[in-house]
């Protein structure tokens, strides 16, 4: 067999760089799925979007084995290939085999759907990105759930893909992983080498590098950074003055109106203190709170509060709401030793503005004493 085979370039440079960048970005997105790293997560997502778009073009404009035409196998042939492989009687393919082709189609589809659901989630739930405010919070919730489930699906297909490559290495008796790095495979002497097309690969890499520079110029994303700022919530001078002596002047959007009504009705025993507010001040604060309570849906957090606090409940502590508990469930007791539950501003750099954007969470979690608003 050795005399009628040769080492020949099968994968052009753009295909290879696409493959490894997609793998890296998917890993990056998986590792930054925590909302605190949303800005980095978002960046990897945009790169994946660009990579998928490029691959679709390259599927028609690329070299022979990169073109969809070279691996447009019907699903039935993928199944037959797997059955043959199980009996070690599979046919040899220079490019993608039928089963591998289908994992590629699945990954491209899932990656595109991940980008789409991600952008919708960002726009609807967080009021950020290109679709900022384009959809309601409910759509955002559905898109977010889809985004998570599709990510698990993609992870599963990646696992199958890696398993397939390992089986392929054994079945073909050659290192397919190295092939995707060097572009070379051992193939029949009749198979001609494809062009490297390094210029296209370098252009793609440069475009992404410039995109990254532009995106991260203002990193880390500070509260108040100009990038994609959602509209500011209404603030009130009397509210700030009266509340902020003892604690953060919590934005009224963080509790439903019924909680605020109860809060002011019980002002004589406000967490153990008699506030002694004048009727005039009380009326002013109450009107402001009711106008801007969670039900006004001024922010994603407001929407969560409005929809998750049980209708029969009127909690006085923000930290006693189901949504707050869910979002802080992963924090350990040591964190609460450092940071009082009422001191939102210790970790949320935008607490005073009432936004609570995931990207504005200080990942030191109160270990550094520089935050204000506590």
């Amino acid at each position: 067999m050795a005399e009628d085979t040769h080492r020949v370039r099968v994968w052009d440079a753009p295909t290879r760089i696409f493959h490894w960048l997609l793998a890296a970005c998917f890993a990056g997105d998986w590792l930054t799925r925590d909302a605190r790293y949303l800005d980095v997560h978002e960046f990897f997502g945009y790169v994946i979007g660009a990579l998928v778009a490029f691959r679709l073009v390259w599927g028609f404009a690329g070299t022979h084995w990169a073109r969809f035409a070279s691996f447009a196998f019907p699903a039935s042939s993928a199944w037959r290939y797997l059955l043959a492989l199980a009996r070690a009687r599979q046919a040899h393919y220079v490019g993608h085999n039928p089963a591998g082709s289908w994992s590629i189609y699945a990954l491209l589809t899932l990656a595109a759907l991940e980008v789409a659901t991600g952008v919708v989630t960002l726009g609807a739930e967080k009021r950020l990105g290109v679709l900022a405010g384009g959809f309601g919070y409910r759509v955002g919730d559905i898109a977010h759930a889809l985004h998570q489930w599709l990510a698990y699906a993609m992870l599963a297909v990646v696992a199958v893909h890696i398993l397939g490559v390992l089986v392929g290495c054994l079945a073909d008796r050659q290192n397919l992983i190295a092939s995707m790095l060097t572009g070379y495979k051992r193939a029949d002497s009749a198979i001609a080498a494809v062009e490297a097309r390094r210029g296209v690969a370098v252009t793609l890499a440069l475009a992404l590098a410039f995109g990254a520079l532009g995106y991260f110029r203002a990193y880390p994303m500070a509260a108040g950074a100009p990038r994609d700022r959602p509209p500011a919530l209404p603030l009130d001078a009397v509210w700030k003055n009266e509340c902020s002596d003892c604690h953060l002047d919590y934005h009224p959007s963080l509790l439903p109106a019924r909680s605020w009504s109860r809060m002011f009705a019980e002002q004589k025993s406000h967490f153990g203190e008699d506030l002694g507010l004048s009727n005039e001040t009380l009326r002013h604060l109450q009107a402001y709170a009711e106008r801007n309570a969670a039900e006004a849906l001024a922010s994603p957090v407001a929407w969560k509060m409005a929809t998750t606090v049980p209708a029969a409940a009127a909690p006085l502590r923000i930290s006693a709401t189901p949504y707050w508990e869910q979002r802080h469930a992963s924090l350990d007791a040591a964190t609460w030793e450092r940071v009082h539950r009422s001191a939102c501003g210790k970790c949320h750099r935008d607490a005073e503005a009432g936004r609570f954007a995931p990207g504005a969470i200080d990942i030191n979690l109160g270990r550094s004493p520089v935050q204000k608003g506590g």
Binding site: C246, H247, G272, E273, D274, H340, S342, A343, G374
Partner: protein, 136 residues
């Protein structure tokens, strides 16, 4: 001569870059009000005594006193007993904003006497505490 002393005080405060009328007048007004309500002879010592007085809160069993939140050294920053929020120093010598706003003084005397002592302060007690605070 009280007139001369006031002028000297105003000049001294002006040299320190402070507004004499803003930091001195509200407390004087209030002391006058307390006197009109029957209180008299305000002293720093009586104010200090009240500041240090410990009262056990019947509901929580917590020993409460002014210094619990404001610390014993009035030139230092304090900490809210339940939220932990930083309280700026009480002494006007390090925090010129203190005792400069009559409404604020009244509000906090009312609220904090209730929390700390479990009752409102008498005009005499308020006058003593203000006299003590002003001296710091």
């Amino acid at each position: 001569m009280p007139g001369l002393r006031n002028i000297a005080l105003a000049a001294g405060l002006a040299l320190l870059g402070m507004d004499a009328t803003a930091s001195a007048a509200p407390v004087d007004d209030l002391l006058q009000q307390f006197r009109a309500q029957g209180a008299s002879g305000f002293t720093v010592a009586a104010g200090e005594q009240l500041w240090e007085r410990k009262v056990i809160d019947p509901k929580t069993g917590q020993a409460r006193r002014c210094a619990l939140c404001h610390t014993a050294d009035l030139r230092k920053k304090g900490k809210h007993a339940s939220t932990g929020k930083v309280i700026e120093p009480m002494a006007p010598s390090v925090n010129p904003e203190r005792l400069s706003d009559k409404a604020k003084i009244k509000k906090w005397l009312a609220r904090n006497c209730k929390w700390t002592l479990g009752r409102e302060c008498t005009p005499q007690e308020k006058g003593d505490v203000l006299t003590m605070l002003r001296s710091r």
